[in-house]
Amino acid sequence: MPAEYSPTILQGQHTNDDEILAKTPLDTKALGGDSSVIIMELLQRFKVRDVMKRQIIAVARSTTLREAQRLMRENRISGLPVCEDGRLYGIVSVNDIINALDNGWIEDSCERHMATNLVVMEAGMPISFALRYFNNYTYGRFPVLDSNRKLVGILSQRDVMRALLYELSVEIRKLERKTAGNGPLRATGERYFRREWAVVRNDLSRAGHAANDIKVILRERKVARSVARRVAVAAYELEINICIHSHGGVLVLLISDDTITITAKDRGPGIPDIEWACRDGTSTANDWIRSLGFGAGMGLSNSKRVADSFDIQSEVGKFTKVTCTFNMVPPEPAPAEGGAS
């Protein structure tokens, strides 16, 4: 019996799991113990049965080691469970084959040379538990048994990795949606585009750059002209607002399949009376700002008017955050503008 197959006897003694874990200090980082709630939750939520391979290539006890060697080569695997009617008797590994070739017993049956002291997993184990196995043993894959002790799958590190990456991508996508300006979550699509611009206080020479970039981006993405214009107007107004009224902030563009969101967030000083600030013609701009054609008190009201959904939050001394959301498809055919044509 190859030495590498005799670390811990688990066959038929699954209550020993805790003992195994006690033997090896838990590497919490490897298990996600030092990770985010989402990763911890994923590791607990997913069971071995969710990610294991269910198609098992196995041999019978009477199968020769030569036949086992052929199966391993053709299927590019390094181990085969020896199994009959669902019952797992042992495992034949590449090392067993090498030993058989070296010692001249390659025509012997698998039963004579297979490993019988096995480390197995249970189908209902959380993935966090399975990861401990990979951490504690050097094996690349483990047989998986169901509650009736029947072989139902094989779990490799690659299976775990693939499943976790997929689920993480789903979770991250959800997070991206949630962080989209905390605005109404109307996005239903899966493709997102996000870009952020820093807006500097009183730098009117650069004010408008973000709005202009946004207009170009929307044009490139073939957003309806009437929608792009409204988005650009809101973006410009909000950019100017950050520039002339705040200590500086950011403008964020988020495009999903069906909505465009502009979020403007600054670092204060905040608006004491939001209702007043949103009224047309009210402004705290100084003469210098007004001389440049700004400070007409129309910024917020213009943004609100052009957006399909408008939200403003502010805390005096801390921040102001404005979110304008636009439906990608105009609600009705765009009317001829201003009778100009």
Binding site: L204, S205, A207, G208, A211, N212, K215, R229, A232, V233, Y236, E237, I240, L292, G293, F294, A296, G297, M298, G299, N302, R305, V306, E337, G338, G339, A340, S341
Partner: protein
């Protein structure tokens, strides 16, 4: 109406040329938020705002001709931005009202 025709109508000077610059309506305004909120596309903007941000607003609303009134000078950065964005700038000694009258062949361009 092409930029050259507009320039002739307001007895102005074409300070910045732009290929294909033309307008089929007029909007008069010095408050840029007002212009952004109400100016229609493809209009000529009659204004006294002789600075960079006026060009930014024109670009956003789709206006390709600016008439600067009261002979206001065109600062270099404004001229540069206008050339880059394809916005023609015409300077005239007329007031906004007089310039609008001179362009009365064009309809109001309001959004």
């Amino acid at each position: 109406m092409t930029a050259a025709e507009i320039c002739a109508a307001v007895k102005g000077t074409l300070a910045v040329e732009a290929e294909d610059a033309a307008a089929n309506g007029v909007y008069v305004g010095d408050l840029l938020s007002d212009v952004m909120g109400h100016a229609g596309e493809d209009c000529v903007l009659v204004t006294i705002q002789n600075h960079l941000n006026a060009i930014a607003v024109c670009t956003l609303v789709g206006c390709s001709v600016v008439v600067l009134c009261h002979s206001r000078p065109v600062p270099p950065d404004m001229a540069e931005a206008a050339a880059r964005e394809g916005v023609a700038i015409i300077t005239t000694s007329l007031s906004q009202y007089a310039a609008a009258l001179a362009l009365s062949a064009l309809p109001p361009a309001e959004h």
